[in-house]
């Protein structure tokens, strides 16, 4: 399935720093919430053909390289 790669038209300020449920073809925001569990409990009652995304702030330049260490 061809998916919409340009999310600039569907992701708005209100979605930033929140989880969004996108339609499988990524053309629509089905719902959004600060908490993924609350969002998925709500949206998966109506639609299971979706994919989740956490939206970065639009005024943020991404730079988040990570390494990890165990306690």
């Amino acid at each position: 399935m061809r998916v919409n790669a340009n999310l600039t038209k569907i992701l708005k300020k209100i979605h930033e720093e929140k989880w969004v449920a996108l339609s499988k073809d990524r053309t629509k925001v089905l719902d959004f919430d600060k908490n993924l569990v609350k969002l998925s409990n709500r949206v998966e009652k109506r639609n299971t053909d979706l994919v989740y995304m956490k939206v970065l702030r639009s005024d943020t330049e991404y730079c988040f390289s990570l390494s990890w260490q165990s306690d």
Binding site: A5, N6, L7, T8, L11, E17, W19, L22, N35, L36, V37, S40, L50, V51, Y52, M53, K54, V55, L56, R57, S58, D59, T60, E61, Y62, C63, F64, S65, L66, S67, W68, Q69, S70, D71
Partner: protein
């Protein structure tokens, strides 16, 4: 004769960035599940060669029913520092029809949903970036 690789083509995902510029990110769909349970979380994640392992937001572990109290705690450092916990889960790439059980760090308050890094992801997939045409390609090793 060298094995001919089968490449899966992707468009870079475009989002609005600083100053209303367009930012292009190499993002793919993955599905995460806990071994032995039917629940799957379909989520987007970014391919990030600067990340050592594979890191997902802790909200995904919560959705899968993973209890952090039963997981090894880890610290993530780099630019910024966050805390998380380690759990082995099943990660699959529906486009390539490939799945693998790998240890993933679930980090609290990650700015995005997930990062697919050097360990496990880059070890198992060849990644070809063609930024000049805003496409990237994946092939299983």
């Amino acid at each position: 004769m060298a094995k001919r690789l089968k490449w899966q083509e992707y468009d870079y995902t475009i989002q609005v960035g600083p100053g209303n510029s367009w930012v292009y990110r190499p993002i793919i769909e993955i599905r995460v599940s806990q071994k032995g349970t039917p629940r799957q979380v379909p989520v987007l994640a970014m391919i990030d060669s600067g990340t050592d392992g594979t890191v997902l937001d802790a909200n995904i572990a919560e959705r899968l029913g993973i209890d952090p109290a039963h997981c090894r705690k880890v610290k993530l450092g780099g630019i910024g520092s966050v805390e998380g916990f380690l759990s082995t889960v099943h990660l699959s790439l529906p486009d390539l029809k490939i799945g693998m059980d790998i240890p993933i760090v679930f980090a609290h308050n990650l700015p995005m949903e997930g990062l697919l890094g050097q360990r496990h992801f880059f070890q198992r997939f060849k990644v070809r970036f063609e930024k000049d045409i805003n496409k990237f390609y994946l092939s299983a090793v």
